[in-house]
């Protein structure tokens, strides 16, 4: 599998994305970075150039503003017409309780984690399909494998993303475009600062190495670390009759 030489990255400032693009930078990849924070993007751009990236451009976007999303993608395609990599890593983990009463919050979670990603994927997938090449990497979550009372709003948005990606993979496989779904377990990042860190927590660099390997090996769907596949297999197979009575 070829490594992308020009990569569009959404959520470039996330801990998981940064650790990952560091690895690609070493290979001389060029990047188009997106997040809400211009200063941070500038800082990342300088850092990646020192690490070996060939060229780094960036633009701000807000996942809640669909125009800013499409503008960023379109600008990237103008700057990098031979774009061959897409990495979607932005995401938002809400307070589930708030989402149970606030319709606005609930919809925002779905828009940030799913609608914006589906928008990006639609434009870039068509572009890659036409060119007959490209690698798409998107960070979903094992939380999307089954709805749980503690986290089902975020979970359903990620679940929708997983389903979208799986359909896209099937559609694009004939066009020579690979679609990789990443499902990280508990990762020690700003998203989880308030969590008590148990033994299942790993650093973002562990996830990054897994993503890098998945790209090289042309994987389809990876749980990181791999043992999450087994944990989720068990969780998915508990009959609904029993599942509804446990607090997970």
């Amino acid at each position: 599998m070829l490594k992308p030489s020009k990569m569009l990255v959404f959520g470039a400032t996330s801990a998981i994305a940064y650790e990952t693009i560091k690895l690609f930078a070493k290979d001389g990849t060029s990047f188009y970075l997106c997040s809400r924070k211009e200063d941070e993007l500038k800082r990342l751009a300088d850092d990646l150039i020192v690490r070996g990236a060939k060229e780094v451009r960036f633009a701000t976007f807000n996942a809640l503003d669909v125009n800013s999303v499409t503008e960023a993608v379109n600008d990237c395609l103008i700057k990098f017409p031979d774009l061959d990599g897409l990495f979607i890593a932005h995401g938002f983990l809400p307070d589930q309780k708030v989402c149970e009463t606030s319709i606005d919050s609930m919809r925002q979670v779905i828009d940030i984690n799913f609608t914006s990603a589906a928008t990006i994927l639609t434009i870039v997938a068509n572009y890659f399909e036409k060119r007959g090449t490209g690698t798409i990497i998107a960070v979903s979550s094992p939380g999307g494998d089954r709805g749980r009372q503690s986290n089902y709003v975020y979970g359903s948005a990620k679940g929708a993303l997983t389903v979208f990606l799986s359909g896209l993979r099937q559609r694009l496989s004939r066009a020579g475009v690979s679609v990789i779904t990443i499902k990280p377990g508990f990762v020690d990042t700003p998203m989880t600062v308030d969590f008590k860190k148990g033994i299942l927590f790993v650093g973002p660099e562990v996830i990054a190495r897994g993503i890098y390997k998945a790209v090289l090996k042309g994987k389809s769907e990876v749980y990181l670390p791999a043992y999450w596949r087994f944990i989720m297999m068990i969780i998915k197979h508990v009959p609904e009759m029993i599942f509804k009575k446990i607090k997970l």
Binding site: D39, E40, R43, D47, V50, G52
Partner: protein, 441 residues
């Protein structure tokens, strides 16, 4: 703010209880971070200092762990600009494959640029290259009142001199610019030579200085007459192909030291045995090998948390530098005292410093000999013993290294660093450390 109150120094002694740790996420956040606390503050890198110079009992630590970005690199000159929390490990990872190496490195790569400047650290090439800060071109310092100083040899020179070796007390170093050195590959051509007396050590040291960039020795003071040890010397290999021939060591992370060691592991007989094996492991007088830079510079880094080997009560390091214009009398006296005390030390590291002048008001390296060793913190008598060693050092206008200290007296500190009076006026009023309250203040 994170409330990990139990942060330790590498020696795990003394204990400190912090009010909290603030972690600014970028250089621009440092200002608000400093404002957000109303008690005393101390910058904190990787916490690889041994004693209490990276501790601020009762106050706050300002961690640079997220000031971890590179800013610029000029491949034509080797000048790297990076944020102060970037570690030497990260620099090596990125730059060795590109053919660059650190100008000076300590015995661990897990230290930050900020920490390296604040202790003006030295390495095995001091006799050739001087201290770390000798290769720092400039840096930016931010004070708690929000003022920033660009510091170099031309600009704000006094702040440069105060902050180099300034043990974190003059403000927060935000970023720095340093000059890397070119290398042909990651391998070191090294020799290790057995010696049986101090005179032999000096003879090898003097003949090695011009030929070898890196020199360091390991000493055994527990053998009965005189000293014995191994003299290690090395150079970067100029040709990569040569290295393919016989690489004796590959880089590897062995393991994490699992738990606090029981104290019998460190009794004098077991140290004697360790030293005996270490010395006799090498049968020939001279052993030549080609090794990766990792085991050559950072043998201890291959065991995570090796400091746990000394158990819960931690350990003490003692490192001095003494001038040698007295025909090595002071160093002989120190070695005799160590031998007589019977207080063993796993690692006695011995090296001849060069004449390169250190630039910081409180820089430790000086022309002469440096000797470092560690002791498990088990017996009270170690403290009085080290006080007696301090006296010998101070008598000949030598110095004790703050980065490794948990116990020197106020007088020893003042005698070690006569420029402390000048230094005091550069201390940030909001900054303090356990160390400085103990020895300065």
């Amino acid at each position: 703010m994170q409330n990990d109150l139990t942060l330790e120094s590498w020696g795990r002694f003394p204990a400190a209880l912090h009010s909290g740790e603030i972690v600014p996420r970028s250089i621009d956040e440092v200002r608000n971070s400093m404002r957000s606390v109303d008690a005393s503050l101390l910058p904190r890198g990787m916490g690889r200092s041994y004693g209490d110079s990276c501790l601020n009992d009762g106050g706050y630590l300002l961690s640079t762990k997220r000031l971890d970005k590179f800013m610029h690199f000029a491949p034509d000159t080797g000048v790297l600009r990076c944020e102060s929390g970037v570690t030497l490990d990260e620099i090596l990872r990125v730059f060795v494959p590109q053919g660059w190496f650190l100008p000076v490195t300590p015995g661990t790569k897990y230290v930050t640029i900020g920490g390296a400047i604040a202790n003006d650290i030295h390495g095995k090439n001091h006799h050739r290259e001087g201290t770390f800060s000798n290769h720092v071109i400039r840096f930016e310092l931010e004070r708690s009142d929000g003022t920033r100083f660009l510091c170099s040899r031309d600009e704000n020179r006094d702040w440069f001199r105060a902050t180099v070796g300034g043990i974190g007390l003059t403000g927060v170093i935000l970023w720095a610019e340093l000059k890397l050195r070119p290398i042909a590959g990651p391998y070191i051509e090294m020799e290790s030579i057995k010696f049986d007396s101090l005179d032999e050590f000096f003879q090898i040291s003097h003949s090695s200085g011009g030929l070898f960039e890196y020199t360091v020795s390991w000493l055994d003071c527990l053998s009965s007459n005189d000293v014995r040890g191994l003299f290690m010397r090395g150079n970067h290999i100029d040709k990569e192909e040569k290295a393919e021939l016989k690489i004796t060591h590959k880089t590897s992370q062995w393991k994490t030291f699992p738990c606090d060691a029981p104290s019998y592991l460190l009794s004098t007989p077991s140290i004697k045995l360790f030293n005996f094996i270490y010395y006799n492991k090498q049968l020939n007088k001279i052993k030549k090998s080609i090794v990766h830079y990792d085991p050559f510079f950072y043998p201890l880094d291959s065991i995570n948390h090796w400091n746990r080997m000394y158990g819960k009560s931690g350990f003490l390091q003692w490192q001095c530098a003494v001038p040698v214009n007295d025909n090595y009398e002071a160093i002989r006296l120190i070695l005799r005292k160590i031998h007589k005390s019977g207080l063993g030390s796993f690692l006695v590291v011995f090296k001849e410093f060069g004449n390169h002048p250190s630039e910081g008001m409180l820089s430790f390296p000086m022309s002469g000999i440096t000797l470092a060793m560690d002791f498990p913190n088990r017996e009270k008598k170690i403290f009085s013993f080290l006080d007696r060693l301090d006296e010998v050092v101070v008598d000949v206008r030598g110095r004790i290294y703050p980065a490794k200290d948990a116990r020197m007296s106020r007088n020893t500190f003042r005698a070690s660093f006569p420029s402390v009076n000048e230094f005091t006026s550069y201390i940030d009023p909001k900054f303090s450390s356990s160390f400085y309250r103990r020895v300065g203040g």
